[in-house]
Protein backbone atom coordinates (compact mmCIF):
# COMPACT_ATOMS: atom_id res chain seq x y z
CA UNK A 1 0.00 0.00 0.00
CA UNK A 2 2.67 2.51 1.04
CA UNK A 3 4.45 4.04 -1.94
CA UNK A 4 8.23 3.64 -1.70
CA UNK A 5 8.98 7.31 -1.14
CA UNK A 6 11.81 8.79 0.89
CA UNK A 7 9.60 8.97 3.97
CA UNK A 8 8.32 5.42 3.69
CA UNK A 9 10.53 4.25 6.52
CA UNK A 10 9.40 6.96 8.92
CA UNK A 11 7.50 5.31 11.76
CA UNK A 12 5.77 8.58 12.56
CA UNK A 13 5.05 11.40 10.21
CA UNK A 14 3.09 14.56 10.87
CA UNK A 15 2.25 17.02 8.14
CA UNK A 16 0.96 20.55 8.59
CA UNK A 17 -0.34 19.69 12.02
CA UNK A 18 -2.35 22.48 13.65
CA UNK A 19 -4.33 22.59 16.86
CA UNK A 20 -6.45 25.44 18.19
CA UNK A 21 -8.46 25.73 21.38
CA UNK A 22 -11.10 28.21 20.32
CA UNK A 23 -9.23 31.34 19.32
CA UNK A 24 -5.96 30.10 20.82
CA UNK A 25 -3.70 28.63 18.14
CA UNK A 26 -1.41 26.27 20.02
CA UNK A 27 0.12 24.44 17.06
CA UNK A 28 0.36 26.27 13.75
CA UNK A 29 1.74 23.84 11.21
CA UNK A 30 4.16 21.22 12.51
CA UNK A 31 5.96 18.95 10.04
CA UNK A 32 7.98 16.14 11.50
CA UNK A 33 9.15 12.72 10.32
CA UNK A 34 10.63 10.31 12.82
CA UNK A 35 12.41 7.26 11.39
CA UNK A 36 11.89 3.94 13.16
CA UNK A 37 14.37 3.48 15.98
CA UNK A 38 15.21 7.15 16.39
CA UNK A 39 15.33 8.88 19.77
CA UNK A 40 14.10 12.43 19.31
CA UNK A 41 14.15 15.12 21.97
CA UNK A 42 11.79 18.08 22.04
CA UNK A 43 12.60 21.27 23.90
CA UNK A 44 10.87 24.62 23.98
CA UNK A 45 9.60 27.23 26.39
CA UNK A 46 6.54 26.79 28.58
CA UNK A 47 3.34 26.96 26.58
CA UNK A 48 5.09 26.28 23.27
CA UNK A 49 2.67 23.46 22.51
CA UNK A 50 4.93 20.47 23.22
CA UNK A 51 2.41 18.52 25.28
CA UNK A 52 -0.30 19.42 22.82
CA UNK A 53 1.82 17.98 20.02
CA UNK A 54 2.05 14.65 21.88
CA UNK A 55 -1.70 14.72 22.48
CA UNK A 56 -2.43 15.22 18.82
CA UNK A 57 0.05 12.49 17.87
CA UNK A 58 -1.50 9.89 20.17
CA UNK A 59 -5.06 11.05 19.57
CA UNK A 60 -5.89 12.38 23.02
CA UNK A 61 -6.66 15.62 21.19
CA UNK A 62 -7.96 15.91 17.65
CA UNK A 63 -5.92 17.89 15.17
CA UNK A 64 -7.60 21.01 13.85
CA UNK A 65 -5.68 20.57 10.59
CA UNK A 66 -2.99 18.29 9.24
CA UNK A 67 -2.23 14.60 9.09
CA UNK A 68 -0.68 12.06 11.45
CA UNK A 69 0.74 8.91 9.86
CA UNK A 70 1.92 5.99 11.95
CA UNK A 71 3.65 2.97 10.46
CA UNK A 72 2.59 4.06 6.99
CA UNK A 73 -1.06 4.43 7.91
CA UNK A 74 -3.07 7.63 8.22
CA UNK A 75 -4.26 7.62 11.84
CA UNK A 76 -5.52 11.22 12.00
CA UNK A 77 -9.07 10.12 12.74
CA UNK A 78 -8.20 6.89 14.57
CA UNK A 79 -9.16 6.78 18.26
CA UNK A 80 -6.41 7.06 20.89
CA UNK A 81 -7.25 3.53 22.04
CA UNK A 82 -6.62 2.11 18.59
CA UNK A 83 -3.43 4.15 18.24
CA UNK A 84 -2.27 2.67 21.54
CA UNK A 85 -3.06 -0.81 20.27
CA UNK A 86 -1.15 -0.03 17.10
CA UNK A 87 1.91 0.70 19.23
CA UNK A 88 1.86 4.26 20.53
CA UNK A 89 2.56 4.58 24.23
CA UNK A 90 2.50 7.93 25.99
CA UNK A 91 3.03 9.41 29.41
CA UNK A 92 1.17 12.45 30.69
CA UNK A 93 3.04 15.46 32.01
CA UNK A 94 0.49 15.77 34.78
CA UNK A 95 0.16 12.15 35.87
CA UNK A 96 -3.17 10.44 35.43
CA UNK A 97 -2.99 7.39 37.67
CA UNK A 98 -5.91 5.01 38.20
CA UNK A 99 -5.93 5.92 41.87
CA UNK A 100 -8.14 3.11 43.18
CA UNK A 101 -6.17 0.39 41.40
CA UNK A 102 -2.84 -0.94 42.60
CA UNK A 103 0.34 0.03 40.80
CA UNK A 104 0.39 -3.48 39.33
CA UNK A 105 -3.19 -3.21 38.09
CA UNK A 106 -2.37 0.16 36.51
CA UNK A 107 0.36 -1.52 34.47
CA UNK A 108 -1.91 -4.51 33.82
CA UNK A 109 -4.39 -2.21 32.10
CA UNK A 110 -1.67 -1.25 29.62
CA UNK A 111 -0.50 -4.83 29.14
CA UNK A 112 -4.04 -6.19 28.69
CA UNK A 113 -5.29 -3.59 26.26
CA UNK A 114 -2.43 -1.67 24.67
CA UNK A 115 -0.34 -4.80 24.24
CA UNK A 116 -3.40 -7.01 23.81
CA UNK A 117 -2.13 -9.71 26.16
CA UNK A 118 -4.24 -12.12 28.19
CA UNK A 119 -3.88 -13.95 31.48
CA UNK A 120 -0.39 -14.85 32.56
CA UNK A 121 1.30 -13.12 29.62
CA UNK A 122 -0.39 -9.84 30.61
CA UNK A 123 0.64 -10.29 34.25
CA UNK A 124 4.23 -10.92 33.22
CA UNK A 125 4.34 -7.95 30.88
CA UNK A 126 2.96 -5.67 33.61
CA UNK A 127 5.62 -6.88 36.04
CA UNK A 128 8.33 -6.44 33.44
CA UNK A 129 7.21 -2.86 32.88
CA UNK A 130 7.20 -2.20 36.62
CA UNK A 131 10.67 -3.63 36.86
CA UNK A 132 11.92 -1.36 34.06
CA UNK A 133 10.43 1.66 35.80
CA UNK A 134 11.84 0.43 39.11
CA UNK A 135 8.46 0.13 40.78
CA UNK A 136 8.32 -3.53 41.76
CA UNK A 137 8.59 -2.68 45.45
CA UNK A 138 5.35 -0.69 45.33
CA UNK A 139 3.46 -3.09 43.03
CA UNK A 140 0.68 -3.70 45.55
CA UNK A 141 0.29 -0.11 46.69
CA UNK A 142 -2.78 1.78 45.54
CA UNK A 143 -1.66 4.21 42.85
CA UNK A 144 -3.49 6.97 44.70
CA UNK A 145 -1.02 6.64 47.56
CA UNK A 146 2.02 7.40 45.39
CA UNK A 147 3.81 10.74 45.74
CA UNK A 148 4.28 12.84 42.60
CA UNK A 149 7.54 11.22 41.56
CA UNK A 150 6.01 7.78 41.97
CA UNK A 151 3.08 8.82 39.84
CA UNK A 152 5.46 10.01 37.12
CA UNK A 153 7.29 6.71 37.18
CA UNK A 154 3.94 4.94 36.97
CA UNK A 155 3.21 6.91 33.80
CA UNK A 156 6.36 5.41 32.31
CA UNK A 157 5.60 1.91 33.58
CA UNK A 158 2.08 1.95 32.19
CA UNK A 159 3.22 3.20 28.80
CA UNK A 160 5.90 0.51 28.69
CA UNK A 161 3.37 -2.16 29.58
CA UNK A 162 1.60 -1.47 26.28
CA UNK A 163 4.70 -2.75 24.42
CA UNK A 164 5.01 0.45 22.39
CA UNK A 165 6.86 0.80 19.12
CA UNK A 166 6.71 4.54 19.61
CA UNK A 167 7.13 5.90 23.11
CA UNK A 168 6.00 9.47 23.75
CA UNK A 169 7.47 10.86 26.96
CA UNK A 170 6.38 14.15 28.50
CA UNK A 171 8.71 15.57 31.15
CA UNK A 172 9.47 12.49 33.18
CA UNK A 173 12.86 13.65 34.56
CA UNK A 174 11.80 16.80 36.40
CA UNK A 175 12.41 16.74 40.15
CA UNK A 176 14.63 13.66 40.14
CA UNK A 177 17.86 13.50 42.14
CA UNK A 178 21.14 13.12 40.25
CA UNK A 179 21.18 9.36 40.86
CA UNK A 180 17.53 8.87 39.93
CA UNK A 181 18.06 10.88 36.78
CA UNK A 182 21.04 8.73 35.81
CA UNK A 183 19.03 5.57 36.32
CA UNK A 184 16.18 7.00 34.24
CA UNK A 185 18.66 7.87 31.48
CA UNK A 186 19.96 4.30 31.59
CA UNK A 187 16.41 2.94 31.27
CA UNK A 188 15.54 5.13 28.29
CA UNK A 189 18.87 4.28 26.66
CA UNK A 190 18.10 0.62 27.08
CA UNK A 191 14.66 1.06 25.48
CA UNK A 192 16.29 2.96 22.64
CA UNK A 193 18.79 0.12 22.30
CA UNK A 194 15.89 -2.32 21.95
CA UNK A 195 14.81 -0.37 18.86
CA UNK A 196 11.88 1.50 20.36
CA UNK A 197 11.29 4.84 18.70
CA UNK A 198 11.25 7.60 21.30
CA UNK A 199 9.99 11.16 21.37
CA UNK A 200 10.95 12.78 24.64
CA UNK A 201 9.89 16.22 25.80
CA UNK A 202 12.17 17.39 28.59
CA UNK A 203 13.24 20.59 30.28
CA UNK A 204 16.18 18.73 31.85
CA UNK A 205 18.31 19.13 28.72
CA UNK A 206 21.21 17.19 30.21
CA UNK A 207 19.01 14.08 30.42
CA UNK A 208 17.86 14.53 26.84
CA UNK A 209 21.26 15.04 25.29
CA UNK A 210 22.51 11.92 27.06
CA UNK A 211 20.06 9.81 25.06
CA UNK A 212 18.70 11.44 21.91
CA UNK A 213 20.46 11.72 18.56
CA UNK A 214 18.17 14.44 17.30
CA UNK A 215 16.68 17.50 18.95
CA UNK A 216 13.75 19.64 17.90
CA UNK A 217 12.92 23.02 19.36
CA UNK A 218 9.27 24.00 19.38
CA UNK A 219 8.26 27.62 19.98
CA UNK A 220 4.80 29.16 19.69
CA UNK A 221 3.44 26.19 17.83
CA UNK A 222 6.11 25.71 15.17
CA UNK A 223 9.43 23.91 14.91
CA UNK A 224 12.19 26.53 14.99
CA UNK A 225 15.21 24.23 15.05
CA UNK A 226 15.83 20.58 14.17
CA UNK A 227 19.09 18.64 14.09
CA UNK A 228 21.84 17.06 16.20
CA UNK A 229 21.43 18.08 19.88
CA UNK A 230 24.58 20.17 20.28
CA UNK A 231 23.97 22.08 17.06
CA UNK A 232 20.35 22.76 17.98
CA UNK A 233 21.27 23.94 21.46
CA UNK A 234 23.87 26.30 20.00
CA UNK A 235 21.66 27.62 17.19
CA UNK A 236 20.62 31.25 17.15
CA UNK A 237 16.92 30.36 17.14
CA UNK A 238 17.15 28.29 20.29
CA UNK A 239 19.31 30.87 22.02
CA UNK A 240 16.74 33.54 21.20
CA UNK A 241 13.76 31.40 22.25
CA UNK A 242 15.44 30.44 25.48
CA UNK A 243 16.58 33.91 26.39
CA UNK A 244 13.15 35.26 25.48
CA UNK A 245 11.25 32.33 26.97
CA UNK A 246 13.28 32.44 30.18
CA UNK A 247 13.87 28.73 30.57
Amino acid sequence: MTPPTATAEALLEVDGLAKSYGALDVLTGVDLAVPAGQALGIVGPNGAGKSTLLSVINGTERATRGVVRFAGRDVTSVSPADRARAGMGRTFQIPRPFTHLTVFENALAGASYGAGLHGHAADMRALEALEMADMLDVANAPAGSLPLLGRKRLELARALATEPRLLLLDEIAGGLTEAECDSLIATIRQLHGEGITIIWIEHVVKALTAVVERLVCLATGVIVADGPPDEVMRSAEVQRVYLGGGL
Binding site: N58, T60, A81, A84, P97, T99, T102, G110, L136, A139
Partner: protein
Protein backbone atom coordinates in the same frame (compact mmCIF):
# COMPACT_ATOMS: atom_id res chain seq x y z
CA UNK B 1 -1.60 -16.03 41.02
CA UNK B 2 0.91 -15.57 43.80
CA UNK B 3 3.73 -17.12 41.81
CA UNK B 4 4.76 -14.18 39.71
CA UNK B 5 8.52 -14.26 39.53
CA UNK B 6 10.42 -11.06 38.74
CA UNK B 7 12.06 -9.85 41.92
CA UNK B 8 10.00 -12.44 43.83
CA UNK B 9 7.09 -10.08 44.07
CA UNK B 10 3.80 -11.43 45.24
CA UNK B 11 1.05 -9.60 43.52
CA UNK B 12 -2.35 -9.23 45.14
CA UNK B 13 -4.96 -9.95 42.58
CA UNK B 14 -8.69 -9.71 42.88
CA UNK B 15 -8.58 -13.35 41.84
CA UNK B 16 -6.98 -14.62 45.06
CA UNK B 17 -9.12 -12.57 47.38
CA UNK B 18 -12.22 -13.92 45.71
CA UNK B 19 -11.77 -17.67 46.00
CA UNK B 20 -12.98 -17.82 49.61
CA UNK B 21 -15.85 -15.49 48.79
CA UNK B 22 -16.91 -17.72 45.91
CA UNK B 23 -17.01 -20.86 48.06
CA UNK B 24 -18.99 -19.16 50.82
CA UNK B 25 -21.30 -17.60 48.26
CA UNK B 26 -21.99 -20.90 46.52
CA UNK B 27 -22.83 -22.61 49.82
CA UNK B 28 -25.14 -19.79 50.92
CA UNK B 29 -26.99 -19.82 47.61
CA UNK B 30 -27.38 -23.61 47.76
CA UNK B 31 -28.79 -23.38 51.29
CA UNK B 32 -31.15 -20.63 50.22
CA UNK B 33 -32.32 -22.77 47.30
CA UNK B 34 -33.19 -25.55 49.74
CA UNK B 35 -34.75 -23.22 52.33
CA UNK B 36 -38.35 -23.66 51.06
CA UNK B 37 -38.13 -27.33 52.13
CA UNK B 38 -37.47 -26.19 55.70
CA UNK B 39 -39.34 -22.94 56.16
CA UNK B 40 -42.99 -22.22 55.46
CA UNK B 41 -43.74 -20.17 52.32
CA UNK B 42 -44.78 -17.19 54.42
CA UNK B 43 -41.18 -16.89 55.58
CA UNK B 44 -39.35 -17.58 52.35
CA UNK B 45 -41.59 -15.37 50.23
CA UNK B 46 -40.46 -12.44 52.35
CA UNK B 47 -36.90 -13.07 51.25
CA UNK B 48 -37.80 -12.48 47.62
CA UNK B 49 -37.59 -8.76 48.30
CA UNK B 50 -34.12 -9.17 49.75
CA UNK B 51 -33.02 -11.07 46.64
CA UNK B 52 -34.16 -8.41 44.22
CA UNK B 53 -32.76 -5.65 46.41
CA UNK B 54 -29.32 -7.30 46.34
CA UNK B 55 -29.66 -7.73 42.57
CA UNK B 56 -30.51 -4.06 42.14
CA UNK B 57 -27.73 -2.89 44.45
CA UNK B 58 -25.18 -5.14 42.73
CA UNK B 59 -25.91 -3.90 39.23
CA UNK B 60 -26.05 -0.29 40.33
CA UNK B 61 -22.68 -0.74 42.01
CA UNK B 62 -21.30 -2.22 38.81
CA UNK B 63 -22.58 0.78 36.92
CA UNK B 64 -21.60 3.56 39.34
CA UNK B 65 -18.96 2.04 41.58
CA UNK B 66 -16.93 0.23 38.95
CA UNK B 67 -17.68 1.98 35.68
CA UNK B 68 -18.28 5.46 37.09
CA UNK B 69 -21.72 5.87 35.50
CA UNK B 70 -23.93 7.39 38.16
CA UNK B 71 -27.39 6.58 36.83
CA UNK B 72 -30.56 7.59 38.61
CA UNK B 73 -32.70 6.11 35.86
CA UNK B 74 -32.48 2.37 36.43
CA UNK B 75 -36.21 2.42 37.21
CA UNK B 76 -36.66 2.54 33.43
CA UNK B 77 -35.51 -1.07 33.23
CA UNK B 78 -37.27 -2.10 36.44
CA UNK B 79 -40.50 -0.87 34.89
CA UNK B 80 -39.79 -2.49 31.55
CA UNK B 81 -39.03 -5.79 33.31
CA UNK B 82 -42.31 -5.59 35.18
CA UNK B 83 -44.32 -4.71 32.09
CA UNK B 84 -42.39 -7.17 29.97
CA UNK B 85 -44.09 -9.95 31.93
CA UNK B 86 -47.49 -8.78 30.59
CA UNK B 87 -46.26 -8.37 27.05
CA UNK B 88 -44.89 -11.88 26.79
CA UNK B 89 -47.57 -13.42 28.99
CA UNK B 90 -50.20 -12.06 26.62
CA UNK B 91 -48.31 -13.72 23.79
CA UNK B 92 -48.68 -17.02 25.61
CA UNK B 93 -45.32 -17.23 27.35
CA UNK B 94 -45.31 -18.59 30.89
CA UNK B 95 -44.68 -15.61 33.22
CA UNK B 96 -41.47 -17.06 34.70
CA UNK B 97 -40.00 -17.76 31.28
CA UNK B 98 -41.39 -14.36 30.30
CA UNK B 99 -39.02 -12.71 32.76
CA UNK B 100 -36.07 -14.20 30.90
CA UNK B 101 -37.45 -13.37 27.46
CA UNK B 102 -38.15 -9.80 28.61
CA UNK B 103 -34.60 -9.46 29.89
CA UNK B 104 -33.26 -10.13 26.40
CA UNK B 105 -35.56 -7.48 24.97
CA UNK B 106 -34.50 -5.07 27.71
CA UNK B 107 -30.86 -5.69 26.89
CA UNK B 108 -31.59 -4.62 23.32
CA UNK B 109 -33.49 -1.55 24.52
CA UNK B 110 -30.68 -0.60 26.96
CA UNK B 111 -28.18 -0.93 24.12
CA UNK B 112 -30.23 1.50 22.05
CA UNK B 113 -30.75 3.93 24.93
CA UNK B 114 -27.02 3.92 25.70
CA UNK B 115 -26.49 5.94 22.55
CA UNK B 116 -28.73 8.64 23.98
CA UNK B 117 -27.39 8.50 27.54
CA UNK B 118 -23.72 8.44 26.51
CA UNK B 119 -24.02 11.80 24.84
CA UNK B 120 -24.05 13.21 28.36
CA UNK B 121 -21.34 13.22 31.04
CA UNK B 122 -21.21 13.35 34.81
CA UNK B 123 -24.15 15.11 36.39
CA UNK B 124 -25.83 15.53 33.03
CA UNK B 125 -25.59 11.79 32.49
CA UNK B 126 -27.35 11.19 35.82
CA UNK B 127 -30.15 13.60 34.98
CA UNK B 128 -30.33 12.25 31.43
CA UNK B 129 -30.93 8.71 32.67
CA UNK B 130 -33.76 10.00 34.84
CA UNK B 131 -35.29 11.82 31.90
CA UNK B 132 -35.01 8.64 29.82
CA UNK B 133 -36.81 6.70 32.57
CA UNK B 134 -39.63 9.26 32.55
CA UNK B 135 -39.83 9.03 28.77
CA UNK B 136 -40.04 5.24 28.94
CA UNK B 137 -42.87 5.51 31.47
CA UNK B 138 -44.68 7.96 29.21
CA UNK B 139 -44.43 5.50 26.33
CA UNK B 140 -45.62 2.54 28.41
CA UNK B 141 -48.73 4.32 29.75
CA UNK B 142 -49.83 5.02 26.21
CA UNK B 143 -50.70 1.34 25.76
CA UNK B 144 -54.22 0.48 26.85
CA UNK B 145 -53.31 -3.18 26.68
CA UNK B 146 -50.77 -2.51 29.47
CA UNK B 147 -53.40 -0.85 31.64
CA UNK B 148 -52.51 2.68 30.52
CA UNK B 149 -51.98 4.82 33.64
CA UNK B 150 -53.72 2.37 35.96
CA UNK B 151 -51.38 -0.58 36.25
CA UNK B 152 -52.34 -4.14 35.43
CA UNK B 153 -52.32 -7.71 36.69
CA UNK B 154 -50.79 -10.75 35.11
CA UNK B 155 -53.48 -12.49 33.06
CA UNK B 156 -52.33 -16.06 33.25
CA UNK B 157 -50.40 -17.16 36.32
CA UNK B 158 -49.89 -20.23 38.50
CA UNK B 159 -53.08 -20.62 40.54
CA UNK B 160 -51.68 -22.46 43.56
CA UNK B 161 -50.25 -19.71 45.83
CA UNK B 162 -47.68 -22.06 47.38
CA UNK B 163 -46.27 -23.14 44.05
CA UNK B 164 -46.45 -19.61 42.76
CA UNK B 165 -44.43 -18.30 45.68
CA UNK B 166 -41.94 -21.11 45.28
CA UNK B 167 -41.40 -20.40 41.60
CA UNK B 168 -40.99 -16.69 42.23
CA UNK B 169 -38.61 -17.45 45.09
CA UNK B 170 -36.41 -19.68 42.96
CA UNK B 171 -36.51 -17.29 40.05
CA UNK B 172 -35.50 -14.36 42.27
CA UNK B 173 -32.73 -16.44 43.81
CA UNK B 174 -31.57 -17.66 40.42
CA UNK B 175 -31.48 -14.11 39.11
CA UNK B 176 -29.52 -13.02 42.16
CA UNK B 177 -27.03 -15.86 41.74
CA UNK B 178 -26.66 -15.14 38.03
CA UNK B 179 -26.12 -11.44 38.74
CA UNK B 180 -23.45 -12.13 41.35
CA UNK B 181 -21.68 -14.69 39.16
CA UNK B 182 -21.79 -12.40 36.12
CA UNK B 183 -20.44 -9.52 38.20
CA UNK B 184 -17.62 -11.60 39.65
CA UNK B 185 -16.76 -12.97 36.24
CA UNK B 186 -16.79 -9.52 34.67
CA UNK B 187 -14.66 -7.93 37.37
CA UNK B 188 -12.24 -10.83 37.42
CA UNK B 189 -11.72 -10.66 33.69
CA UNK B 190 -9.53 -7.96 32.23
CA UNK B 191 -12.71 -6.01 31.72
CA UNK B 192 -12.74 -5.35 35.48
CA UNK B 193 -9.43 -3.54 35.27
CA UNK B 194 -10.64 -1.64 32.21
CA UNK B 195 -13.81 -0.46 33.93
CA UNK B 196 -12.01 0.78 37.00
CA UNK B 197 -9.41 2.49 34.82
CA UNK B 198 -12.16 4.29 32.98
CA UNK B 199 -13.79 5.34 36.22
CA UNK B 200 -10.52 6.71 37.58
CA UNK B 201 -9.24 8.40 34.43
CA UNK B 202 -10.88 8.11 31.04
CA UNK B 203 -8.17 9.95 29.11
CA UNK B 204 -5.44 7.68 30.45
CA UNK B 205 -7.60 4.61 29.86
CA UNK B 206 -7.94 5.52 26.19
CA UNK B 207 -4.22 6.21 25.87
CA UNK B 208 -3.57 2.67 27.14
CA UNK B 209 -5.72 1.11 24.45
CA UNK B 210 -9.00 0.70 26.30
CA UNK B 211 -12.12 1.17 24.17
CA UNK B 212 -13.97 3.30 26.69
CA UNK B 213 -17.29 3.51 24.89
CA UNK B 214 -17.46 -0.23 24.27
CA UNK B 215 -16.66 -1.16 27.88
CA UNK B 216 -19.20 1.31 29.26
CA UNK B 217 -21.87 0.10 26.87
CA UNK B 218 -21.40 -3.52 27.93
CA UNK B 219 -21.86 -2.55 31.59
CA UNK B 220 -24.80 -0.30 30.79
CA UNK B 221 -26.56 -3.17 29.03
CA UNK B 222 -25.78 -5.65 31.83
CA UNK B 223 -27.06 -3.16 34.42
CA UNK B 224 -30.24 -2.68 32.37
CA UNK B 225 -30.80 -6.43 32.16
CA UNK B 226 -30.21 -6.85 35.91
CA UNK B 227 -32.65 -4.08 36.79
CA UNK B 228 -35.15 -5.50 34.29
CA UNK B 229 -34.98 -8.95 35.88
CA UNK B 230 -35.50 -7.40 39.32
CA UNK B 231 -38.53 -5.56 37.91
CA UNK B 232 -39.92 -8.83 36.56
CA UNK B 233 -39.57 -10.38 40.01
CA UNK B 234 -41.44 -7.45 41.58
CA UNK B 235 -44.20 -7.87 39.02
CA UNK B 236 -44.41 -11.61 39.60
CA UNK B 237 -44.53 -11.21 43.36
CA UNK B 238 -47.30 -8.61 43.20
CA UNK B 239 -49.05 -10.47 40.35
CA UNK B 240 -48.84 -7.26 38.38
CA UNK B 241 -48.04 -3.60 38.56
CA UNK B 242 -49.97 -1.44 41.04
CA UNK B 243 -49.35 1.70 39.05
CA UNK B 244 -46.81 2.83 36.48
CA UNK B 245 -45.77 5.62 38.83
CA UNK B 246 -44.80 3.09 41.44
CA UNK B 247 -42.77 0.77 39.22
CA UNK B 248 -41.10 3.64 37.34
CA UNK B 249 -40.49 5.58 40.55
CA UNK B 250 -37.18 7.38 40.98
CA UNK B 251 -37.22 6.24 44.61
CA UNK B 252 -35.87 2.91 43.32
CA UNK B 253 -32.75 4.83 42.35
CA UNK B 254 -32.63 6.47 45.76
CA UNK B 255 -32.76 3.03 47.39
CA UNK B 256 -30.03 1.73 45.12
CA UNK B 257 -27.78 4.69 45.94
CA UNK B 258 -28.52 4.21 49.62
CA UNK B 259 -27.77 0.49 49.64
CA UNK B 260 -24.55 0.81 47.69
CA UNK B 261 -23.21 3.76 49.66
CA UNK B 262 -24.04 2.26 53.03
CA UNK B 263 -22.39 -1.05 52.17
CA UNK B 264 -19.39 0.37 50.33
CA UNK B 265 -19.30 1.53 46.74
CA UNK B 266 -16.82 -0.13 44.38
CA UNK B 267 -16.58 -3.34 46.40
CA UNK B 268 -18.20 -6.67 45.61
CA UNK B 269 -19.64 -7.32 49.06
CA UNK B 270 -20.74 -3.70 49.65
CA UNK B 271 -24.07 -3.84 47.84
CA UNK B 272 -24.93 -7.16 49.51
CA UNK B 273 -24.29 -5.71 52.96
CA UNK B 274 -26.12 -2.50 52.07
CA UNK B 275 -29.13 -4.38 50.73
CA UNK B 276 -29.34 -6.51 53.86
CA UNK B 277 -29.13 -3.42 56.07
CA UNK B 278 -31.81 -1.71 54.03
CA UNK B 279 -34.02 -4.82 54.06
CA UNK B 280 -33.76 -5.21 57.82
CA UNK B 281 -34.44 -1.52 58.43
CA UNK B 282 -37.39 -1.67 56.10
CA UNK B 283 -38.75 -4.76 57.86
CA UNK B 284 -38.49 -3.47 61.41
CA UNK B 285 -39.08 0.22 61.05
CA UNK B 286 -41.68 0.35 58.32
CA UNK B 287 -44.51 0.81 60.85
CA UNK B 288 -42.87 3.93 62.18
CA UNK B 289 -43.66 6.03 59.15
CA UNK B 290 -42.12 9.48 59.31
CA UNK B 291 -39.55 8.65 61.96
CA UNK B 292 -38.31 5.80 59.93
CA UNK B 293 -38.01 7.84 56.77
CA UNK B 294 -36.17 10.66 58.50
CA UNK B 295 -33.77 8.33 60.27
CA UNK B 296 -33.07 6.50 57.04
CA UNK B 297 -32.26 9.65 55.14
CA UNK B 298 -30.19 11.12 57.96
CA UNK B 299 -28.25 7.88 58.04
CA UNK B 300 -27.97 7.81 54.26
CA UNK B 301 -26.75 11.35 53.82
CA UNK B 302 -24.15 11.21 56.58
CA UNK B 303 -22.86 7.99 55.11
CA UNK B 304 -22.81 9.55 51.62
CA UNK B 305 -20.64 12.42 52.70
CA UNK B 306 -18.21 10.00 54.32
CA UNK B 307 -17.99 8.01 51.09
CA UNK B 308 -17.50 10.97 48.84
CA UNK B 309 -14.82 12.43 51.06
CA UNK B 310 -12.88 9.21 51.26
CA UNK B 311 -12.95 8.63 47.51
Amino acid sequence: MAELVPGHVRVDRLRRRMIATQIVGAVVILLLALAPYVFVPAVTSQWIKLFYLITLATVWNLLAGYAGMVSVGQQAYIGLGAYGIFVFNDLGVNPYAGALVASVAIGVIAFGLSFVAFRLRGGYFAIGTWVIAEAVRQVVVRFDSLGAGRGRSIADYTEDPVMRNLFTYWLALGILAATLIATLFLLRSRMGVALQSIRDNEVAARALGIHVGRAKRIVFVIAGIGAGLAGSVISLQQLGVQSPNQIFSVSFSAFMVFMVLIGGIGTIEGPIVGAVVYYVMDLYFSQMGLWYTSARWACGTSRCSVCWRSS
